[in-house]
């Protein structure tokens, strides 16, 4: 209970009120009629009309998967790979071979903070989905709309801001095994959530959601905290963590005017029990008093978002968001005397953190024309970050590195309708910042409708990635080493082009419907930042803008609806080529990876039950690695990571007039824990890892939800 209190003590502050506009959708059924999306749009637009290709994960899909965080539901999404880091407890994202630094996560169109970035580098396990209406995903560079680091794509999490009911209560309990580990308290995953919503008047709505998600860690033969042998078994394979999340929204809506204020507080505790046990032998008495050096990370995130939107002069559409966010990660280090279970020499301090003021505003329909809609907008980000010497390798005499990055961007987008079938969508952004040269970002998209429900979209965009703190500030200089960051780095430049061909068909008088899509993609990066040898004697390393990167691919996504059956099937082939200008004899060949995914649902209305299957196969992944061959020569070899598959199966059913919903299922049916790999290079002091941890094996869950609508 103490941790609960410590989490919520800082929450004493006034809550401001306000409101919102949105398209209410409380659809528990499988099918979505006209899906409206926000991401990359001038004004909210239907998926079909959108020039940009937007994928949507609906609330219904989230519920069928019993997904609690973004990491839970994206596992089986085509092209996106989730990469858990068992030693930090985070889950990152990789898309087109690029990690989370190139990908932006937004909540209601506003980038969400984490200790390493604003929108980028997001730990997906920190994005709770309990008050989420849908998730929108756009692949490709979206720099004009969303600024820096939206290189490989964006995820926009749209929260719920209205309800049909006067009052509603939603509470649920979710119990999950971690692999085959489960106990009522000390093993497994335990989630409790409570949401209260109320329409105070027909214009004012508010809701509040509290969720607690306790993950007891994946032991996998490890022995946890209170274990005193130095045989590598102390601690956990995956770190235990507890998240508590409080969210609230207040919205006001009338014709032509809507405002909302949304608040989100997250407190996360990660426990890292060292596997190294110092026996601390007393040579005189031949007894031991085992010690271990343990670490507890505590993450606190605050998010405030105020949004106003509406119409001026009956045609100008405005939308202004103002957001203040902070995330501070604290670290407690201590010596743990294992047998008496005592903490000693406790050191507490700030580990890494960020605060940001963010504002974006747009004014649309500037030309008052049906043919040409013009939008002008601004975006301001005042970001302040710090990393302690424990988080970033810096001169130990400097306690921490701090940085302020202020960017002031202006952008213009237009949508031109030439005839009823062709639309063009040019856009550009200019970005001024205190650290980097002025950046110009452009985009151009086009949509052509053909007869017989054929659609062709071409989407080209650019975006850059700003250098991270390691790249800018690393300072590791001693007698034997000289590795330094480079404060003069420029952002990496990314460009992407997508071509999507779509066809909708209806057979048997609409009972059998199909949506088919095939897409070609290209993504290029230049000025890529790499650590290079800047001097041979003495050997000196420095980060520099030097390399380039290309990803090309083809993928197809298809949907089938037939009676009570709905299926999504996808396949993708993606190739990556890296040009490593700093390394001799590097190989620029494209290395390809194949993926398959499927998402099947079948409803039996009589039983109020839906059966679902989520599947993804990730084929062999290859990577060039510099290794020493049999003759003792350095050479580039193709390292491979073995293929693997994910499958989740769930049954979702409701009782008592749908007031109680039970979801049971199994995740990771193929029982994947890790895959073998040769795709890593060894470090200076250790060999390469030969396995990548991916999951904790086949697990089972049960979610019991209670919903009361008045």
């Amino acid at each position: 209970m103490t941790r609960f209190v410590s989490c919520f003590l800082p929450l004493v502050f006034p809550i401001i009120v306000i409101a919102q506009v949105d398209h209410p959708s409380d659809s528990p059924r499988l099918e979505q009629l006209e899906q409206v999306v926000l991401t990359g749009q001038l004004t909210p637009e239907s998926v079909e009309k959108s020039v940009v290709e937007v994928k949507v994960i609906t609330r219904n899909t989230i519920d069928r998967q019993a997904g609690n965080t973004l990491a839970d539901v994206l596992n089986t999404t085509l092209n996106l790979n989730i990469t858990p880091n068992t030693s930090t407890g985070k889950s990152g994202i990789s898309l087109f071979g690029l990690d989370g630094q190139y990908f932006k996560v937004l909540i209601d169109n506003v980038p969400i903070i984490n200790e390493e970035g604003i929108g980028s580098n997001t730990d997906l396990t920190l994005i709770n989905l309990d008050d989420v209406e849908r998730i929108e995903i756009v692949e490709g560079a979206m720099g004009v709309q969303y600024g820096s680091n939206a290189v490989s794509g964006v995820i926009n999490v749209i929260t719920k801001k209205s309800s049909k009911n006067r009052s509603e209560v939603l509470a649920y309990l979710q119990e999950e095994t971690i692999g085959n580990e489960y106990e009522f308290f000390n093993r497994g995953r335990h989630i409790q959530s409570l949401r209260l919503g109320h329409n105070f008047t027909d214009k004012i709505y508010a809701n509040a959601t509290f969720t607690r998600n306790k993950f007891a860690g994946f032991f996998n033969n490890r022995m946890g905290e209170n274990y005193d042998q130095n045989d590598g078994l102390r601690g956990h394979e995956w770190l235990p963590k507890t998240q508590q999340n409080l969210k609230a929204v207040l919205s006001f809506k009338e014709e032509h005017f809507a405002v909302f204020y949304r608040f989100d507080y997250l407190c996360e505790t990660i426990e890292k029990y060292n596997d190294i046990v110092n026996p601390n032998e007393n040579p005189s008495t031949d007894t031991q008093d085992p010690l271990s050096l343990d670490e507890i990370y505590n993450n606190n995130r605050f998010y405030h978002h105020f949004n106003a939107n509406g119409k001026l002069f009956k045609y100008l559409v405005y939308n202004v968001s103002v957001s203040y966010q902070e995330q501070i990660k604290n670290l407690k280090q201590y010596t743990y005397r294992i047998r008496p279970q005592q903490e000693e020499n406790v050191l507490e301090g700030e580990y890494q953190g960020r605060t940001a003021f963010f504002s974006r505003g747009t004014l649309s329909n500037l030309l008052k024309s049906k043919k040409i809609s013009l939008q002008a907008g601004y975006e301001i980000t005042n970001e302040k970050g710090f990393g302690s010497s424990l988080a970033v390798v810096i001169d130990p005499e400097e306690n921490q590195v701090t940085q302020s990055l202020n960017s002031y961007d202006g952008f213009v987008s237009s949508e031109v309708h030439l005839g009823s079938k062709f639309s063009l969508r040019p856009g550009m952004r200019i970005s001024f910042s205190n650290l980097f040269d002025t950046q110009f970002i452009g985009s151009l998209s086009a949509k052509q409708s053909f007869g017989d429900n054929w659609e062709l979209r071409a989407v080209a965009g650019s975006a850059n990635r700003t250098p991270n703190y390691d790249e800018l500030y690393t300072f590791f200089v001693d007698v034997n080493h000289d590795v330094q960051g480079n404060p003069n780095l420029n952002p990496e430049q990314g460009v992407s082009t997508f071509l999507h061909l779509k066809k909708r068909s209806a057979l048997s008088e609409g009972r059998f419907r199909l949506k088919n899509k095939i897409s070609l993609n290209y993504l290029g990066l230049t000025d890529r930042i790499e650590l290079i040898v800047s001097q041979q004697i003495p050997l000196t390393f420095k980060y520099n803008n030097i390399d380039s990167y290309k990803a090309v691919g083809v993928f197809s996504e298809n949907e089938i609806f037939y009676k009570n059956f709905k299926g999504q099937l996808g396949a993708s082939m993606q190739g990556v080529s890296k040009v490593l200008d700093n390394r001799k004899d590097s190989d620029e060949d494209f290395l390809f990876n194949f993926q398959l995914n499927a998402n099947l649902g079948y409803t039996i209305p009589k039983w109020h039950a839906t059966f679902s299957l989520f599947f993804k196969h990730i084929g062999t992944q290859q990577q060039f690695v510099e290794k020493i061959n049999a003759d003792g020569q350095q050479e580039f070899q193709r390292g491979t990571t073995n293929p693997y598959s994910w499958m989740d199966a769930t049954v979702n059913t409701s009782f008592f007039k749908e007031s109680v919903t039970l979801t049971v299922g199994s995740r990771n049916l193929f029982n994947v824990t890790s895959v073998n790999t040769t795709a890593f290079e060894g470090g200076a002091h250790n060999g390469p890892p030969s396995q990548i941890p991916l999951g904790y094996g086949r697990s089972y869950f049960m979610k019991l939800a209670y919903n009361l609508n008045i």
Binding site: Q192, N230, I276, P279, I537
Partner: protein, 467 residues
């Protein structure tokens, strides 16, 4: 509606139970028995003077009251005539109380007869402990005699993460000699060869120049060479600029000092680094501080002595010092800081191992600075080798298990092999056998690399006589 109310009641009761229940892993771990033991194993009759306090330690702070009994036995020494104790023995036994809250106790040994010789031996043994869950183990007896030390646990004062000290240890006498590792620059060998070593503990390096005229060398002559004459450049060829890390006197960076004056070249000398003063992150070291600069030197022979010429790089004149060999020591040490000969090592046969920062050479990467080093005194005939615990446990290893052919001369037999820098602890799967210059053999086990808080530079080891 009633059903609904019932469901909600059940649901929320369960919800609250689940939410509020905090749990702590309450596993109990089996722990060691309560032990009373002598802090050390032995003392030397010749060095203890008239009285000596002998400490006894408890394995944990006593949580209750109890008692224990010591038995006294002796050879060629009589209680009451040659020695006594405080508290006094009754029928060769002393009973001590164990008081709750204390961590140990002690008694006083009085040496009445100052002429006890090597035939005398006095033995104290813990014969009984009255305390819950206690056991007699560890240092259960204590010997006072004229023989070599039976062993001890030592925590050399290396100086924390800056590791500013060198600690020379004589195992058989338990003697420690501490010197600042930057207190000397050059060591002039006292053995048969005319050789000069540089101070590897501050990462010095030396390169031979073509010239034999020290006064004509300027910075401009060496400016291209300087980046190479350093530690940690990752250039495999730079091993020639440091003394052979195996300790072979014939492998010094400075060539043999020739009787023929014209064969003795001028050397560019990188003076390495001051002892660091930074406080690094816990678990790391900060051994190197500011660079100490450069000198040019030339060494000649003058009869059986050395003649050292030295100057700053751009000086057009030089200083000269005559340095004699002293065969009681391995080296005669000289410091540019004091411009004099300085005392560093104990006499050659009076040390076995030294704890020090040292310069090593890594295959393919050249010279590389190491911290936490333990080097043995190969120049005086000390030898050592490593034993892994898959072959023998430290406790069971005895004289019969010695593999004579395993003893090596390379002074890095212990070196840095004993410690795991990434985990901040010694490797617990190995121990070492050291044979001193009198052929006395000890086994050595490392207990710590860091202190309880994980700060580096606080090593600890224990050793036991093999007999």
């Amino acid at each position: 509606m009633r059903v609904n109310r019932f469901i909600s009641y059940i649901f929320f009761s369960f919800f609250l139970l689940n939410l509020t229940s905090c749990s702590k892993d309450d596993t109990t771990i089996p722990s060691d028995p309560f032990v009373v033991a002598f802090e050390d194993l032995s003392a030397n009759l010749g060095t203890i003077g008239r009285t000596m306090e002998i400490p006894l330690v408890f394995s944990t702070t006593a949580a209750q009251n109890g008692s224990f009994t010591l038995s006294i036995s002796s050879i060629n020494a009589t209680y009451g005539e040659d020695f006594t104790t405080i508290p006094a023995a009754n029928r060769n036994e002393i009973t001590f109380s164990i008081n709750s809250g204390t961590e140990g106790t002690s008694f006083v040994f009085n040496k009445l007869n100052q002429n006890l010789d090597e035939t005398s031996q006095i033995l104290f043994t813990i014969s009984q402990i009255d305390y819950e869950a206690s056991n007699i183990q560890g240092n259960a007896s204590y010997t006072i005699s004229n023989s070599a030390s039976l062993g001890k646990a030592i925590a050399p004062e290396l100086g924390g993460p800056n590791e500013g000290n060198q600690i020379y240890i004589d195992l058989s006498t338990e003697a420690e000699t501490i010197v600042k590792r930057d207190s000397w620059d050059l060591g002039f060998y006292s053995g048969g060869d005319f050789r000069v070593g540089i101070n590897g503990s501050i990462y010095m390096a030396a390169a031979s120049l073509e010239s034999t005229n020290i006064d004509e060398i300027t910075e401009a002559d060496v400016i291209d060479l300087q980046p190479q004459v350093a530690i940690g450049t990752f250039d495999p060829n730079n091993a020639i600029y440091v003394d052979n890390p195996n300790g072979d006197i014939l492998g010094t960076a400075v060539e043999e000092i020739s009787i023929t004056e014209s064969e003795n070249k001028v050397y560019l000398l990188n003076l390495g680094y001051e002892v660091g003063t930074d406080t690094p992150d816990s678990g790391s070291v900060a051994v190197a501080g500011d660079a100490r600069g450069w000198k040019k030197i030339r060494i000649l022979r003058e009869g059986d002595d050395y003649l050292l010429q030295y100057a700053d790089l751009n000086d057009t004149s030089h200083q000269e010092v005559r340095i004699s060999k002293n065969t009681d020591y391995n080296f005669t040490f000289f410091s540019f800081h004091t411009n004099t000969v300085v005392a560093v090592e104990p006499e050659a046969p009076k040390w076995d191992i030294v704890f020090t920062v040292f310069t090593n050479v890594i295959d393919g990467a050249g010279s590389y600075g190491f911290s936490d080093g333990v080097l043995h005194n190969g120049k005086s005939g000390v030898q050592a080798y490593e034993v892994t615990t898959d072959l023998f446990s430290y406790e069971s290893f005895s004289l019969n298990n010695i593999s004579t052919s395993s003893f090596g001369d390379d002074q890095r037999a212990i070196g840095s092999n004993w410690r795991d820098v990434f985990d901040g602890v010694p490797f617990f799967d190995r121990f070492y056998i050291v044979k001193d210059s009198n052929d006395t053999i000890y086994k050595i086990k490392f207990l710590a690399l860091a202190n309880d808080n994980g700060e580096r530079g606080y090593p600890e080891f224990e050793y036991q006589l093999l007999e």
